[in-house]
């Protein structure tokens, strides 16, 4: 019961509007909500609406909303004293009173809106009985009996009442649009709206436009906009199909009469964004004649200076045309469309800088791209439209080439980078990317002339001293156009054009501009990117002679300015990698550069590594291993000598901390450079196509001899960093790079400078293990790397490895460090992975070792208890591979089977898997299932016995922990046996897990 007087409640409402502190407002709101939801809610709503205060009236209307929602269940009942019908009557009366008090609706619009919203809410719940609330509203507002609205009645109404009707219609459809689509009554509601409410609204809207166009335009457009949204939703959710032609014709009338007021254009554009299907053919024709006829021209004449207005118009034009781009594209054939395309071109070429001054060209680039795609993809459709007439098709093709060439010219101008681009760089880059896409697309249509025009603009620009900005735009677009070129598909014309570019002063001019600093950065960057993108040219015999000039230019960019060094080194790296075989003569040019790169510790590490990798890529392409060796020895010796000096400096305890950090970064980079040599020297995938059998023989023999001692230099360098230097060997990065180097040649099919004998990585691991006491922490950190190196060795060298070294290394790395290994999930995972690799590749190296049964199996069993999913995953893989033993020989299989059958292993494994599976989170169950399944498949005869024994133990354990025994375990065992470990087994085990954990699988219910 509420024990507050009317005055107190009024005062409470008023204080809500005067309170300032958020806490006070929250407190007042809280109190008010209690009142609104109290048993006297309806009475309070009535009482507040009767107050002269606007605040009270609004809260009164709001209280109705609260109670309509609160009592939705009882309001529909006819036995209830308060029903929707009684509330509706009250609300309509209040509406009438409020409108009477304020005929101009100036101050009470919020209250009226809220009352209308309440009526809309009632309508959506009672539409079966209350068919057309608009009629009821008119009846109450005019004190006339309710009748179907028509223009005669509407003529008697003040335009403010018409505004209320429009608002009510708008609120009602907005309300329905927003509501949950799963409401079962929605189909019915949509039908009711279509049958009555829509027709009445159309009558009101038509009248409003006819009679009170200016006064009601804004409300009318809001109403129209809401109906566009609603119709789209209604057509999606029901079978109702709207013919909104009358409404839309009125909208177009408003478009014309308002001379294209922004809001009208927005609403028309909304149609195409929301539901273009609303536009019937006739309407389309009307709109087309408006947009491309005198109205459109007049609009542009009037608003031509207003970028916003023109852009709004352009967007409408684009949305309108997008609906049927294929037909529009085909209409290019017809000269009658010429004007239309001229119009579109003129809109696209609106003066000014894109983004800053105008957005027209930005919006239009997508439009042109879509249209170009029609020409690329819909050729068949065009030919159908033109009845397969070859001359007509040729005409369409010619006109499309001409059209897109003109559009290309516009966008060439538009992609020029403005001086003040910094403030909107992202936006401008995005626009340029869109233009680049457009050029890429239209190359399929315009073909070589597009490329040729760009080239000519460069050549002419260089001779007429036009701006570097023009040159930049052309190069940028050439990059885009040539994105899909390859040396196999490139035409002679393109090659000739590129030769013209290379023979021009382009590189000289750009090189000179480097010294001008920031202002010319874009032409330089784009030139570098362009040179990196035309690798198809360098790989062609025509382009090869230019390689050295280009590399010299890029080296110049890299060395002469920090600003371009990174991007230039990337280009060098790409070219050297892609065109390695043509660059052998260029190797001497690297000599001084490499010395600088290696010796100067201020060189950016990535640049150093890229250049060293580039050199190695070229060296790799030399077929003669002796010459390769010669080059490698030179650079590796250089790195080694410099490294030893730097390591000595680094190991000096007096070195200041800051200097030490710099020195460490330099040293890491030097070791990474060795890795980059390894990467560069990697044989290409198609070895058999590059070398014949006798060449392969020569290479193998050479690297077995390794007369220049390349292997040893690499091994010594790795050792100097990762083993001998007390300080450096603590660095994880150094160990990582050392491991990477030792692994880099492991996948090679024939010998090479980085293909080491098996004992090299094994010795490295041994050396690291023997030194573990010196720094246990860094040893722990490096263990995953060492296991990973071992795994890589097992993976690549399993055929040539012997059992003895495998046993020794597992003893040393795994068994002797078991406590440390178990302390860290990452180490656990990497250790399990290494062992699993051996089981997968050559189990005979492992399964007969005593340490396998004595240590590794208990270790792997233990990991089934892990809570870390990735450790469990590695454990699952180990057990599944071991039990399946796909690569095992007969002896291996027998040996493993004996472990399972003649020792408790099988039962213990099953017990451990089952026990931990039942306790595990759902996300891990699948991993245990795989282990259980493979046991069922391989040891079917023993499963019943093992499982029965397992469940006895599990139940015992569960009882000790106060849990229920596993229900129906015997049934479970039978079911599992029936599945024989096949697909159905997953379901059976999953069900057991759900049952034991008291859960239900809703996916299957």
């Amino acid at each position: 019961m509420v024990s507050m007087s009317v005055d107190q409640i009024v005062s409470l409402v008023e204080s809500l509007y005067t309170a300032h502190s958020p806490d006070a407002v929250a407190e007042l709101q809280n109190r008010l909500q209690i009142l609104q939801k109290s048993e006297q809610g309806w009475e309070i709503a009535e009482m507040l609406l009767a107050q002269p205060s606007l605040n009270c009236q609004f809260i009164g209307a709001l209280t109705y909303t609260v109670n309509l929602n609160l009592h939705s269940a009882t309001l529909a009942s006819s036995s209830s004293t308060i029903t929707y019908a009684t509330i509706m009557t009250k609300l309509l009366s209040h509406l009438r009173d409020v409108v009477r008090e304020d005929p101009n609706l100036k101050s009470r619009m919020l209250i009226i809106t809220k009352l209308l919203a309440n009526l809309a809410l009632i309508f959506t719940r009672t539409f079966q009985d209350w068919k057309d609330p608009l009629n009821s509203v008119v009846s109450y507002l005019t004190n006339q009996p309710e009748t179907t609205l028509n223009s005669e009645i509407l003529q008697t109404l003040h335009h403010k009442l018409i505004e209320i009707l429009l608002l009510f219609s708008q609120i009602t459809v907005e309300d329905i649009t927003k509501k949950d689509a799963s409401d079962v009554n929605r189909v019915e509601l949509h039908r009711c709206i279509h049958e009555g409410f829509f027709a009445t609204t159309q009558t009101i809207m038509a009248f409003a436009v006819e009679r009170y166009e200016e006064a009601l335009a804004s409300t009318w457009l809001d109403c129209m906009s809401s109906w566009i949204q609603y119709i789209s939703v209604a057509q999606l959710e029901s079978t109702e199909r709207y013919d909104a032609s009358v409404m839309l014709s009125n909208l177009f009338k408003l478009l014309v009469d308002s001379k294209g007021e922004a809001r009208v254009i927005t609403v028309v554009t909304d149609i195409f964004d929301t539901n273009p299907g609303m536009m019937k053919q006739e309407l389309n024709k009307t709109l087309e004649s408006l947009l491309f006829g005198s109205w459109g021209i007049e609009y542009l004449n009037t608003h031509g200076h207003d970028h916003e207005a023109v852009n709004m118009f352009s967007r409408l034009v684009i949305r309108f045309l997008e609906g049927n781009l294929v037909s529009l594209s085909a209409s290019l054939y017809d000269d009658q469309s010429n004007e239309k395309f001229e119009f579109l071109i003129s809109l696209s070429s609106f003066p000014g800088t894109p983004i800053i001054d105008e957005m027209n060209s930005v919006d239009f680039v997508d439009f042109w791209s879509q249209m170009a795609e029609c020409f690329v993809s819909d050729g068949e459709y065009f030919s159908l439209l033109l009845k397969n007439d070859e001359s007509s098709m040729a005409r369409l093709t010619d006109k499309s080439i001409a059209l897109f060439s003109r559009v290309a010219q516009i966008y060439w101008q538009k992609v020029h980078i403005p001086d003040d681009v910094a403030d909107f760089k992202e936006e401008f880059d995005s626009f340029r990317r869109d233009v680049a896409d457009f050029f890429e697309t239209i190359y399929s249509i315009v073909e070589f002339p597009l490329f040729d025009n760009l080239v000519k603009s460069i050549i002419e620009g260089l001779t007429t001293s036009s701006s570097l900005s023009d040159l930049e735009a052309s190069l940028f677009l050439m990059n885009a156009v040539s994105a899909n070129f390859s040396e196999h598909t490139i035409s002679d014309d393109v090659l000739k054009s590129l030769v013209m570019v290379m023979d021009s002063d382009l590189l000289k001019v750009v090189q000179q501009s480097i010294s001008f600093g920031q202002s010319l950065q874009y032409p330089i960057l784009t030139t570098v990117q362009f040179l990196a993108s035309i690798d198809y040219f360098y790989r062609h015999s025509v382009g090869v002679p230019y390689l050295s000039t280009i590399l010299n230019f890029l080296f110049g960019c890299m060395l002469n300015s920090n600003q371009y060094s990174l991007v230039a080194s990337k280009a060098i790296s790409k070219i050297c990698n892609e065109c390695r075989q043509y660059l052998v003569d260029f190797i001497p040019y690297f000599d001084d550069l490499l010395t600088e790169m290696i010796s100067n510790y201020n060189v950016e590490p990535l640049i150093r590594q890229r250049i060293i990798n580039s050199h190695a890529s070229i060296v790799q392409s030399i077929k003669d291993p002796e010459i390769q060796s010669h080059h490698l020895k030179k650079i590796l010796t250089l790195i080694r000598q410099r490294s030893l000096e730097a390591i000595r400096e680094f190991d000096n305890p007096q070195l200041p901390r800051e200097e030490r950090e710099k020195q460490l970064a330099y040293l890491i980079s030097l070791l990474s450079s060795v890795k980059e040599i390894g990467r560069g020297m990697k044989l290409p995938d198609d070895v058999d196509q590059i070398y014949n059998a006798s060449e392969i023989g020569v290479i193998k023999e050479f690297w077995e001899r390794d007369p220049m001692g390349i292997h040893q230099i690499v091994i010594d360098t790795v050792g100097a960093f990762a083993l001998e230097s007390r300080m450096l060997s603590k660095s994880l990065r150094i160990t990582e790079e050392a491991c990477n180097i030792l692994q880099s040649g492991m996948s090679e099919s024939i010998g090479g400078p980085f293909v080491f004998e098996n004992n090299v990585p094994l010795n490295f691991i041994q050396a690291r293990c023997s030194n573990k006491e010196a720094d246990p922490k860094s040893f722990l950190d490096t263990l995953p790397l060492l296991f990973s190196l071992l795994s890589a060795l097992f993976n690549s060298a399993f055929r040539t490895l012997d059992q003895k070294p495998v046993e020794e290394i597992l003893q040393l790395l795994l068994i002797d460090n078991m406590v440390i290994v178990k302390s860290d999930p990452d180490i656990l995972q990497s250790a399990l992975s290494a062992v699993t690799t051996l089981v997968e590749k050559r189990p005979s190296l492992l399964v007969h070792l005593p340490l396998f049964f004595d240590s590794i199996l208990p270790f792997a069993l233990d990991q089934l208890k892990s809570k870390e999913r990735y450790v469990l995953k590695a454990t699952e893989k180990f057990w599944v591979r071991l039990i399946a033993l796909r690569r095992g020989g007969q002896q291996d299989t027998i040996s493993v089977q004996r472990m399972f059958l003649e020792t408790p292993l099988g039962e213990v494994l099953l017990l451990t898997a089952l026990e931990n599976m039942l306790e595990s989170p759902r996300s891990n169950v699948d991993l245990y299932i795989e282990v259980i399944k493979v046991i069922v498949v391989k040891y079917q005869r023993m499963v019943k016995q093992w499982m029965t024994a397992s469940f006895v133990k599990i139940d015992q354990l569960r009882q000790e922990r106060g849990k229920q025994p596993v229900p129906s375990s015997a049934v479970f065992i039978s079911k599992v046996l029936v599945t024989r470990g096949m697909g159905g087994c997953n379901r059976v085990i999953n069900d057991l897990w759900l049952q034991v954990n008291g859960l239900v699988d809703y996916n299957t219910r």
Partner: protein, 157 residues
Amino acid sequence: MPEQSLCLQRLQQERKQWRKDHPFGFFAKPKKDADGYDLYKWVCGIPGKQGTIWEGATYPITVTFTQDYPAKAPKVKFTEDFYHPNVYPSGTVCLSILNDEQDWKPSISLKEILLGVQELLTTPNPLSPAQEPAYRAYMKNREEYDMKVKEQAKHFS
């Protein structure tokens, strides 16, 4: 016009939608071959977020759709050996919205996928490790992780 499969219709729609509205710094376009565009294979770029260790570079990815799209999620791949805890050594991204059995919904747009991957770059999911080196460094040695990510950013800049 020849009838298109639901998948192709949707991919056309995605292309159109992307053109109309795409976030700055991203790019996405179907691969082009001799026959035109292959809507099943997209080449995309994801910019590293400003103010993070990923900034300054646009990371290339490929998005491959199958004919079951949108019922099935596309496969998103970075380059091989991309350094991130939730990217497999093959480059495949491990992300719940790209997993049919997790959060994939047919309504997820290409834009949402790319924004999701961008978000993943800066906020890896430690519960779904996909590669050892980045995961290990992310969990245990954040300094090393940051340094490697920055090096990678330079590589892609």
